[in-house]
């Protein structure tokens, strides 16, 4: 078991961690979740059929774990908010408002983009992270998401469009402020 862990760790750990980090936008949370990824992977490693690459398999597990986490959060939120109506369909996540250190150190454009990324829905965010930050191919992204390549392409297209709109919108807002 340890060999499997070491092998996967050396090959893919930073990829998986970075993916989780951008998904949940919090370092310590990503650290917890990456643990869960390994637990799940080691439990089901014998089920890995090699139909996809190890890398996309690992990242797809990480994605499921992140989504599970979001769902739990939403349930908790709902329990706390109680009678207030929480839009069940909404894909938006609560914004903790904190900017991770790593992002805060970057230039303003990057920080701005990071904030606007949050305005995209989860699928759009996922595709952007996979395609541009993880630098996966369309095919690999499709494998991770278990989507068709054309769905990846359209989602990517819409995500970029939305991101661009958000960025220009906020820029205008800033101009008015000035």
């Amino acid at each position: 078991m340890k060999e499997v862990f070491q092998d996967l760790y050396h090959k893919y750990h930073q990829d998986v961690f970075q993916f989780l980090f951008y998904m949940v936008k919090d370092r310590s949370l990503a650290e917890d979740l990456v643990q869960e990824v390994y637990v799940k992977v080691l439990k089901s490693y014998h089920n890995f059929k090699g139909e996809s690459s190890e890398k996309t398999w690992l990242i797809s597990i990480a994605r499921h774990i992140a989504i599970d986490y979001f769902r739990k959060q939403k349930r908790k939120q709902k329990r706390i908010i109680g009678s207030f109506t929480v839009d069940e369909k909404s894909d938006w996540l609560e914004d903790t408002g904190k900017i991770p250190e790593e992002i805060a150190m970057e230039n303003e454009d990057i920080r701005h983009m990071y904030q606007c990324l949050k305005r995209c829905n989860i699928d759009q965010q996922t595709v952007i992270i996979l395609r541009y930050i993880q630098a996966l191919s369309i095919k690999e992204t499709a494998e991770v998401l278990n989507w068709s390549e054309s769905k990846v392409k359209t989602t990517q297209h819409r995500a970029i469009k939305r991101l661009r709109m958000q960025m220009s919108k906020e820029e205008e807002g800033k101009k008015y402020e000035e």
Binding site: F5, Q6, H13, Q18, E31, Y38, V39, D109, Y132, L163
Partner: protein, 272 residues
């Protein structure tokens, strides 16, 4: 064109997003993962450990149920000969009008086979609340005998083979159906909602005054076989049949809401 340029710019910017590194120690991470794995495996093992006693308990209970039903079924065969002697009118005919009936209290639901039902049914040890003949009412009584038993009505109304008795101004609460060409009653019908505020002295078993099916349940006991029958206006009602003794039945019909009681009948299951 401008859009595409902008898109390209955004894509370029996205590529500049900082690379994030995990600084956790590999060894430590592995230890944590291992611990978590063991915890989940323990949970699974615990679950397995639980299933064995649970299944044993289930098996024991199943055996107990079987034993009880075997014991209660022994009575009928013992009483069979006696029962057959007693009932000259019970022919050995095979078919029957056959509302699937349900014996009172503990007894198991009967099979549809009516002749077997009639002959093998135990002379029931009736429970206290439902004596073998209810408040002395019996199929085959004459009108006078019935009135002596329950008290005379405010008024009555006759239709063919049937006399309806009024005890409350609300309506006719008891109907007596007479056997053709005979003066004897072969079916009693009680309508509880017309028997509530009786101005007249009425002595009948409280069972027939129940207005809710729950009340019947508490008196006659647990899970009854029920049959849905069609009622007026395309609704369905529930009909519960209880076995009073080898021949007599109590049939309880609910209204469409399946709670209120429409009527309670005391009748004899005739063999055709």
């Amino acid at each position: 064109m401008k859009n595409n340029e902008n898109n390209h710019e955004i894509e370029k910017m996205l590529n500049q997003m900082p690379k994030i590194q995990d600084h956790q120690d590999e060894e430590e991470l592995f230890k944590k993962v291992q611990q978590q794995l063991q915890r989940t495996q323990n949970k699974q093992r615990n679950r397995k450990v639980w299933t064995i006693p649970a299944m044993t308990t289930a098996a024991v209970m199943l055996i107990a149920v079987i034993l009880i039903s075997v014991i209660t079924n022994q009575n009928p065969t013992a009483d069979m000969a006696q029962d057959m002697e007693n009932s000259s009118e019970e022919s050995a005919s095979s078919e029957d009008t056959g509302t699937p009936s349900h014996e009172l209290k503990m007894m198991s639901p009967e099979e549809n086979d009516a002749s077997r039902d009639a002959e093998s049914s135990p002379l029931p040890e009736m429970d206290k609340s439902a004596p073998r003949s209810i408040s002395g009412l019996q199929i085959g009584m004459t009108y006078d005998e019935v009135i002596k038993e329950i008290g005379s009505p405010l008024e009555y109304e006759d239709t063919e083979n049937q006399r309806s008795l009024k005890y409350s101004t609300e309506g006719y609460g008891i109907k007596l159906q007479f056997k053709k060409n005979s003066q004897t009653v072969n079916e009693f019908t009680f309508i509880p909602r017309y028997l509530q505020d009786t101005q007249q002295k009425l002595t009948i078993h409280p069972l027939f005054l129940r207005q809710k099916i729950e009340g019947i349940r508490t008196m006659l006991g647990g899970p009854m076989n029920e049959e849905s029958v069609s009622c007026f206006e395309n609704t369905t009602c529930e009909e519960y049949t209880y076995k009073l003794n080898s021949k007599d039945r109590i049939v309880v019909r609910t209204s469409w809401n399946k709670e209120d009681i429409e009527f309670i009948k005391l009748l004899r299951q005739e063999h055709q």
